[in-house]
């Protein structure tokens, strides 16, 4: 419930494919050209290019300027945002439990006024 933007949706959608995850894992160890990225997979280069396009649109990778090679590299920010979603999960529970404190106080008062002690 804390998906903050459509960017985050795009990131998670991009991450939902095993080939694209493998590409990101490869790029985590350094930039690589399209050919280098296609190598370990049994798919065509156009197919790899389509995956790269999805990753690029989600902002997860960018391409370098080195003329022919145009190496792809991993981008830090969207990944960090996806990770901070997990931190939000923790904060969410802190907030919920503070609401529960308030509710329990009300319930205690209500029980007292009704003299319904166990």
């Amino acid at each position: 419930m804390v998906l903050e933007s459509s960017t985050l949706d795009a990131v998670f959608a991009a991450l939902a494919d095993p080939t694209r995850r493998a590409i990101l894992a490869r790029l985590a160890s350094g930039e690589a050209s399209v050919n280098e990225l296609a190598e370990p997979f049994s798919v065509t280069q156009p197919a790899i290019s389509r995956h790269l396009k999805v990753l690029e649109q989600a902002g997860l990778i960018s391409r370098g300027r080195a003329a022919q090679r145009r190496p792809r590299r991993l981008e830090a920010k969207p990944l960090a945002e996806a990770a901070s979603w997990l931190e939000t999960y923790r904060k969410l529970w802190e907030m919920r439990f503070r609401h529960l404190d308030a509710l329990l106080d009300e319930m205690k008062l209500a029980k007292k006024s009704h003299r319904k002690k166990r």
Binding site: M1, V2, L3, F12, A13, L15, A16, D17, P18, R21, L24, A25, A28, L74, A76, L79, A80, A82, A83, S84, L86, E87, T88, Y89, R90, L92, W93, E94, M95, R96, F97, H99, L100, D101, A102, L103, L104, D105, M107, K108, K111, R118
Partner: protein, 170 residues
């Protein structure tokens, strides 16, 4: 601080949340199991309401929660009760409609009363260590570089079709 939320890892696949409440156990149990009470505290961040809160509190019964944002976004989850001991223990499965972790988690709620205070312990058991670690670790602890490793774990453990929608409407 006394009533602080503690989040810790246990074993390979569990997250344990502990919190003390200044109230007797039967009240805490009620607040955790009656829909009209649950929807008062089990909220999302600013802007989210909880239009659906259905609880069929019996073994094999199901529950269903849906949160809605004022901009129209929705998020739903639900599961099935496996064990119920009023007012001290509830075991239930948990799955989000748009799961961001693989498989189904199992949650165990345990309430222990002492001197009028109740310690709530919520244990979540995940499918794998990777999933558990992804849920538990906060980026605050480490920083962006390390969040790569973590994200890689999440990424490699996500289901191939991330968009599977399996609602467990009761």
């Amino acid at each position: 601080m006394k009533n602080t939320l503690q989040v810790t890892a246990r074993g390979d696949r569990e997250i344990v949340m502990t919190r003390v409440f200044d109230a007797p156990r039967h009240l805490v149990f009620e607040a955790c199991s009656k829909p009209e009470l649950v929807r008062q505290w089990l909220l999302g961040p600013e802007g989210w309401s909880m239009p659906v809160c259905e609880i069929d509190l019996r073994v094999g019964g199901s529950y269903r929660y849906v949160w809605r944002h004022s901009d129209g976004r929705e998020m739903g989850m639900g599961g099935v009760y496996r064990e119920i001991v009023i007012p001290e223990r509830v075991v239930a499965t948990e799955k989000f409609d748009e799961a961001w972790y693989p498989g189904e988690a199992v949650g165990t709620l345990v309430l222990v009363e002492r001197d009028g205070e109740t310690t709530l312990t919520q244990t979540m058991l995940y499918d794998s260590r990777q999933t558990r670690d992804a849920v538990l670790k906060s980026p605050m602890e480490t920083g962006v570089a390390a969040s790569y490793d973590r994200l890689e774990k999440i990424v490699t453990s996500m289901p191939a079709q991330g968009e599977e929608r399996e609602s467990r409407a009761s």
